[in-house]
Subunit: 426 residues, 2 copies
């Protein structure tokens, strides 16, 4: 599967090549993720004319999921070819009470991607990656995961009836392990960090035994990353085809942030939204236990110094972030900033988001809301500018983070007298 | 709040009265759930002319949630009046592999209501109940719950910025307790069964201190129950405006089953679907630990003998089911049947559903899939007839049910050699 395939799997796709983000060398569309010239990461390049033909009406006429943007994605133009749980078009929730609590005086929205089928934004990237993988002829699905990706790959594989093998660090939250294993595929727990898991998966893709296995975030990573653009398109469409002034995005590999920024730029370029007079500003969130991108920004460096991650925001615990330098670039170019939050701040922010919006986020969402609060307090976010904060996962998967903080406020016997004695009647 | 209110909160509603399901006495639309004449339960009665004006086009032009059926609901016609997380329009997932495993040779679909905002079908009934409650002037939201309802009421109240107080049995799954308490409202754990909790809540509604508290499934229950009809409408619309031949539905109070059956009948009556030549058949599912309705059917009785529930399907553990006799009626009238499953069968069915569809259900969903399998094996379900099975909740909330059955299939150190030694390379 490392050989170049002919273009036919992508015949109706606007994608035209893979291009190196480092040196610009182009390669045919295939299962390749690194440049043969400079070892830089590859991304999908499109035929600009094809993308520019897309209209708001065509999108509005599509299904209420990521496939409404099929004309902007590298694979899956024909619905029959999709390997998908039909994720996306998740709620954009107005959050006036949260805005008040963090000190924003302009509209604030939460893009709530916990509403996806396996309750994280990973369903978007997995649907696109596996649809490309099927087109490329792979017959087993795999990934290196901090948890959410494993849930999504295992569930997609089950729906498609294809074998799967997912790789996770062995210290993951039980909720994420069980929610992966229940789908019946292989689950490989690795005694190491996510970065160790990722390295092993890269090695496995080079073996004969894994020749026909698609690792969604390794050998088909360029297709995988493209799915994140839908999180930019949807926000713009849900705002009535306009861009917010500010967005706050969690960072693990940093790729999600770069792709949302790219999606906004594309929408302007394609004429689907007006170019905002003073652009949009992109803000990144990390945890104190894993902040290599945010530290580089705050210290004015261009290089990312790898870390050994710690802390409760496990889904963000990538110590050697593949797209970190691109996230730095996007944030600097847009005039944004990055912040990081410690475990207590993350727990607080999970509660804050839940109380003010009815959305129960996992630790990654808590990290992002905590960063939102800091960025306002530090004057980095303009309190008068419309803001969107991304929640990428579900609180049910990281219950331990809040288990010792919340519980019943009363415990009583089942009688009116007991209720009265407990003070329930005021 | 027990006094009759004037009709103005429901001025654009097709609802015209509350009517006793026992003796047929009518009452004005208000916070009343039992007949003053015979103590029978009340339900919402509609103006038939108003309902019959609804068209497929009007529905298709609505939002992708329950409010697309606002013209068929008792409250919330004006979007600004809604207290809602915008639940509904959840996926209808084709399940050919599950069909094969249970022995069905016709199309099988899973209506997956774990996709709702708080991941159970309760969001539907809570949105309708609280929208009616707000119209009626209540300023605190409450419920008696086996867990999912508590999650939903607490989340709705948080989004709306209204205080809440939810009542649960103290032995609930931790996932359901934390996911309720995180929203910041009061959570009252009662040392007793759900039926004890429900009885206490009924008593509390009669106190002065709870005069302005809406218990969604007690004093505004008639409105609450109406939300379940959307689970019938959606299936018909998603099938291209036709009815399935067979539906399998979990039973706790039994109300969900009666309302889906009612929704199908309404669609035929309103001319929104063709009347099927030989109707549709309704099947009910309970657990062996709480099967009062199924036992009554199987033993040919008209009365429901209350039970003290046991077993892992806690969200179905209502030993004295309020709508049990109506569920019996609907199943008998339609030519359906009921089955119940023990805890091991429920666990097996959770795994079966996950492996074959990518849907991770809570114990209630496992119960329903286990019942589906039994009903086919026993010849009660026609294996040649199109069937829809309802999954009403999310596996992440009842992880303990499968925690000791599933887990990593391999555990290895992060090296290619370790992977090879573990047998990962075949």
């Amino acid at each position: 599967m490392t050989s170049t395939v002919d273009a036919s799997p992508f015949v109706n796709s606007p994608a035209r090549a893979l291009v190196c983000r480092g040196c610009g060398t182009e390669f045919p569309l295939a299962a390749q993720h690194a440049c043969y010239e400079c070892f830089g990461p590859l991304e999908v390049a499109y035929d600009p004319a094809a993308l520019k033909r897309v209209t708001r009406e065509e999108i509005a006429g599509g299904p209420p999921n990521i496939w409404r943007y099929a004309s902007l994605l590298p694979a899956g133009q024909d619905p029959a070819t999709r390997v998908t749980l039909d994720p996306g078009f998740t709620p954009l929730v107005p959050a006036p009470a949260l805005a008040r609590e963090v000190g924003l005086r302009a509209p604030l929205w939460v893009k709530d991607d916990s509403a996806n089928p396996t309750h994280s934004f990973k369903d978007r990237v997995v649907s696109v990656a596996l649809t490309a993988a099927r087109a490329l002829g792979f017959d087993r699905y795999a990934c290196a995961s901090t948890g959410n990706l494993a849930n999504s790959v295992a569930a997609h594989a089950a729906r498609a009836g294809v074998p799967s093998m997912v790789f996770i660090p062995s210290d993951l939250e039980p909720g994420k392990v069980i929610t992966t294993a229940v789908y019946g595929g292989d689950v490989v727990a690795i005694d190491g960090s996510y970065d160790d898991v990722n390295r092993l998966c890269s090695e496995l893709t080079e073996t004969d035994e894994f020749e026909s296995t698609a690792f969604v975030n390794v050998n088909v990573r360029p297709f995988y990353a493209e799915g994140s653009r839908t999180l930019g398109y949807e926000v713009a469409e849900q705002l009535g085809w306009r861009l917010p002034k500010q967005v706050v995005i969690p960072m693990a590999s940093g790729e999600l942030l770069t792709k949302i920024d790219k999606a906004f730029a594309e929408l302007v370029e394609f004429g689907l939204v007006e170019a905002p007079a003073d652009g949009w500003r992109v803000f990144g969130a990390q945890s104190a236990g894993c902040n290599p991108i945010a530290l580089a920004l705050q210290e004015g460096r261009d290089d990312i110094i790898p870390q050994k991650p710690t802390g409760i925001a496990k889904s963000l615990n990538i110590g050697d972030p593949a797209a970190g330098v691109y996230a730095l670039e996007a944030v600097r170019r847009s005039g944004g900033w990055m912040a990081y939050a410690d475990d207590e701040e993350i727990r607080d922010a999970i509660g804050l988001l839940a109380r003010t919006t009815g959305i129960f986020a996992e630790t990654a969402g808590g990290t992002t809301v905590a960063a939102l609060r800091k960025l306002v307090a530090e004057g980095r976010l303009d309190p008068e500018a419309e803001t969107v904060v991304y929640n990428t996962g579900e609180g049910l998967k990281t219950l331990d983070a809040v288990a010792d903080r919340v519980g019943p406020t009363y415990r009583v016997k089942p009688s009116l007298r007991a209720a009265r004695d407990a003070g329930l009647l005021g």
